[in-house]
Amino acid sequence: MVTLTGTGNPTTVAADRMVALRQRIEELEGRIARGERFSRPSEDPPAHARAAALSRLDARLQAEQRVVERATARLNAADTALAEGVDVLVRARELAILGASGTFSDADRAVIAVEVRGLKERLVQAANRRDEAGRFLFAGAADAQPAFAPDEAGVVRYLGFGTGHGAEAAGLVGAAVPPGPAVFGPDDAGAFAALDALLAALAEPDGELRAEAFAVAMGRVEAAHDRIVVARAGLGVVLGRLEAEVERIASGRIELARGLAATQGLDLAAAITELETLRLTLAATQEVFRRVAGESLFDRLG
């Protein structure tokens, strides 16, 4: 039986339903191709909002990861510089012991003084170590200029100011490279002053005064050494925290990926089953329409 509606809609109801089925098939095919359960917010508003939140969180974690990696690189560079500082001060202590020995002549002490001056140069270089961006690690916020430089009298002074940048954007406080004075000590009582004291002791002509000066210099060198060692230990702790942070971010991102897959990902098996069902339904509808609409009593009239 063919019943044509004649109601202003040129398509029949059956055709309308077939069009709707075709649209659903095309929509499902698009989802399967993308591997996503929805592509527009209106297809599932709550799920889209959740997926968007997860995606934002993932982007934030990625950014935090870069910040932590950058801070780690700076701290590792600082640690290398401090290791060199420790070496310098260990050698300075050895030279102080040698210099304090009564068997050495003035000429021998002059040779030692040359090495101590070299050590001081090395220590200044270590204290003025730069990061990969060329910024001075121990200069705090004023890291465009060297952290330490000798004044006119040859006394090495701290030129930096404030605190450098760390991993604050990742929510970590205290991951910045410590400013120079925190590592190398104050200008008048730090590592450079200890080497100056050693040089002064080596230059002292009076044996008794020299012995006293060596004792003082030895104490200062050891104090400076200990300060740098403690600073290195502090860096190690911070680096450990950063490493743990990297792991936290990595595991967080894995969880987010799982959450996104659960929220946004398409259940392929279910989708393909639904697709096949729809195709079968469309084919059946078309066949039924063809058979029903294809014949009428007129065909039977002779």
Binding site: N9, S42, A52, E168
Partner: protein
């Protein structure tokens, strides 16, 4: 005998008319709006008194066709009309809301540009003096502004297109009303039950359906089938009354919706209660809301970021400038321009110029920059400045070349100011530093504060320092040892443009230095402040939340409209099937009718033959 002939003749005529009706039905089986016809046959009473020559005459009058009736159920037709109206409403709303959603989601979404911009700020905190990182921040900011511009432009285009569609719908409504009034006039003149009246009724019903798909209408029919139509419900405004129809005008309402005004001067206001126009109204309101939210998001974001940026210090040691502009100039060359001139327009900070026009006067060899209303103008060679707009250009113009210069605002006007990478203010304005020789565990915080009023004479000399005295009292001094402020540990001391606080457990004699961040500073305090805008919950929530709310405000109603549309289509299909059952052309039934009427025709023809033969036999007998 002649009666038999009369009866058969009537039968032949009736069968022929019935066969013609079947033919008409089959021919129009696929015609939209066609309602199946059926002949109204009636038996006739004897036309005259019995003849005195007839014994026991048969009281037979034969058959006649009283008219052609339409197989229509008005209640079903009305239900279908309402269902079509609902589908048109939801279809229009779905189509336009989907377009609005597409202009703000997927590849056009602001989510990724927002994420990438804040990620670049995060990178800046880790490398505040790095020029490549700074360039990246500016590039991401431009990308974000461009996305805002594109979405705003797309929404503006949708507003214009939606407006045009509503205007067309209103005009179509006027045209349909006029056509319906014409049909009413013809119905009045047509013979009731005649073929013309039936066709006119079909046309009338089709026009009513088309009107109902545009706007909800209330319909009443007169005895002759003339339609009286009101827009809205039974208490609505009359738009078709007999042969008279009223023009229907579209009115734009505040908030993006539409209304209708009826009458030549639009004096009567008619509500839109259904149909595609209501769908357009709903979509228009959502569209207006989306534009407002987008503008608000852009302005709040720009305002927050500008405020944070201006609190910092750039790589040259200067105060941060606004990062974003919220007005943008758009130069549009006229379609008829023939020259190759390329025009650039720059807007001065804080300027809000009216629309301008730039024209090339070939005779004078000068450019003319004027307000669109010509209330002010300047002429000459580039650069030309008017109302805060400075215009420059290159390339050869042609006589009469015209450029329109307009200011875009809100999301469409968002722009990154032309700042070099060094002008990005990543460092805080003031820095504080405890001396390494401090014995206590004091902590120093510094923040921007107001300048001293009145300004101190002589001016204070930076850098400043805070010294911890006895009884946990602290004193702020400048470089010349002038006491600026005193207070206790934990108090904010007010300096000149900054405030400083010593907290924790400082020892007596501890010193803290305060100074302005200098050129090349590697401090990241202001980059962190800029990044904090990401989590800054304003009136709309954080920027990401505001954006998500904007999408949700579209997605939820769109999902609802889709669900309702699906249901409405099913409902419409059911109503259409019911109408088809009553009014549609069933070819099987027509074939059966055709056989029936064909047989009736043949039988009546045979009767005529029989009557003729009988009459002939009588005549032969009389010879």
């Amino acid at each position: 005998m002649s009666d038999l002939l009369g009866l058969a003749l009537g039968g032949v005529r009736a069968a022929r008319t019935a066969l013609e009706t079947v033919g008409d039905n089959v021919a129009n089986a696929a015609t939209p709006g066609y309602v199946r016809r059926r002949p109204v046959l009636a038996s006739l009473a004897p036309a005259r008194a019995n003849s005195p020559f007839e014994k026991d005459p048969v009281a037979a009058g034969g058959v006649e066709v009283r008219g052609i009736a339409r197989a229509v159920d008005l209640i079903l037709v009305d239900s279908l009309r309402r269902a079509e109206s609902q589908v048109a409403l939801l279809g229009a709303a779905e189509r336009w809301l989907a377009l609005v959603e597409a202009s703000l989601s997927g590849p056009a979404s602001l989510a990724r540009p927002l994420e990438e911009f804040f990620a670049s700020l995060s990178d800046l905190t880790a490398d505040p003096a790095s020029l490549p990182v700074r360039e990246t921040v500016l590039a991401r900011a431009r990308q974000l502004a461009a996305r805002f511009n594109a979405s705003a432009g797309e929404l503006a285009r949708l507003v214009s297109d939606l407006d045009a569609e509503a205007e067309v719908a209103a005009r179509q409504l006027t045209s349909l009303a006029r056509s319906l009034a014409d049909v009413n006039a013809q119905l009045r003149r047509a013979t009731a039950g005649g073929g013309a009246a039936v066709s006119l009724a079909d046309t009338r019903d089709r026009l009513l359906t088309e009107m109902a798909s545009l706007v909800a209408i209330d319909v009443r029919f007169s005895a002759r089938g003339e339609a009286e139509v009101r827009v809205g419900d039974a208490g609505g405004v009359l738009v078709v009354d007999g042969q008279r129809s009223e023009p229907i005008l579209l009115r734009r309402e505040v908030g993006g919706g539409f209304g209708l005004a009826v009458g030549p001067d639009g004096a009567e206001t008619a509500p839109i209660l259904g149909g595609a126009l209501l769908g357009l109204t709903l979509a228009g309101r959502r569209l207006a809301d989306a534009r407002e939210r987008l503008d608000q998001l852009a302005l709040e974001l720009a305002s927050d970021l500008n405020a944070a940026h201006q609190a910092g210090v750039d790589l040259a040691g200067a105060d941060g400038q606004p990062l974003f502009a919220t007005r943008r100039l758009v130069v549009t060359p006229a379609a008829g321009n023939g020259g190759g001139a390329r025009i650039e327009a720059v807007l001065a900070d804080g300027a809000a110029p009216p629309p301008l026009r730039l024209t090339w006067n070939a005779a004078a060899g000068q450019w003319r920059l004027a307000r669109a209303d010509d209330s002010a103008a300047v002429s000459g060679s580039f650069p030309l400045s008017l109302d805060g707009v400075t215009v420059t250009g290159a390339g050869p113009p042609r006589a009469g070349d015209l450029f329109r210069i307009e200011t875009q605002q809100g999301a469409a006007g968002l722009d990154v100011r032309p700042l070099p990478a060094t002008a990005l203010a990543a460092a805080p304005r003031f820095l504080a530093d405890p001396l390494a020789s401090n014995r206590g565990a004091g902590r120093v915080d510094v923040r921007i504060g107001p300048l001293l009023d009145p300004p101190p004479v002589p001016p204070l000399a930076p850098p400043f320092r805070v010294e911890v005295g006895p009884s946990a009292m602290v004193t702020l001094r400048d470089a010349a040892d002038v006491v600026v402020a005193t207070g206790a540990v934990g108090d904010w001391l007010i300096g000149d443009g900054f405030e400083v606080r010593i907290s924790g457990d400082p020892a007596e004699g501890d010193l803290f230095r305060i100074r302005r961040a200098g050129p090349g500073s590697g401090a990241n305090g202001n980059a962190l402040a800029l990044l904090a805008v990401r989590d800054c919950a304003g009136a709309l929530g954080t920027p990401a939340e505001a954006h998500e709310a904007l999408l949700t405000a579209l997605a939820v109603p769109l999902a609802e409209v889709r669900a309702r549309l699906e249901a409405a289509r099913e409902s419409r299909n059911a109503a259409a099937e019911a109408v088809a059952e009553a009014s549609g052309v069933d070819l099987d039934r027509e074939a059966a009718d055709m056989l029936r009427f064909q047989q009736a025709y043949q039988a009546n023809a045979r009767l005529i033959q029989t009557a003729r033969d009988t009459f002939q036999a009588l005549l032969e007998a009389l010879r």
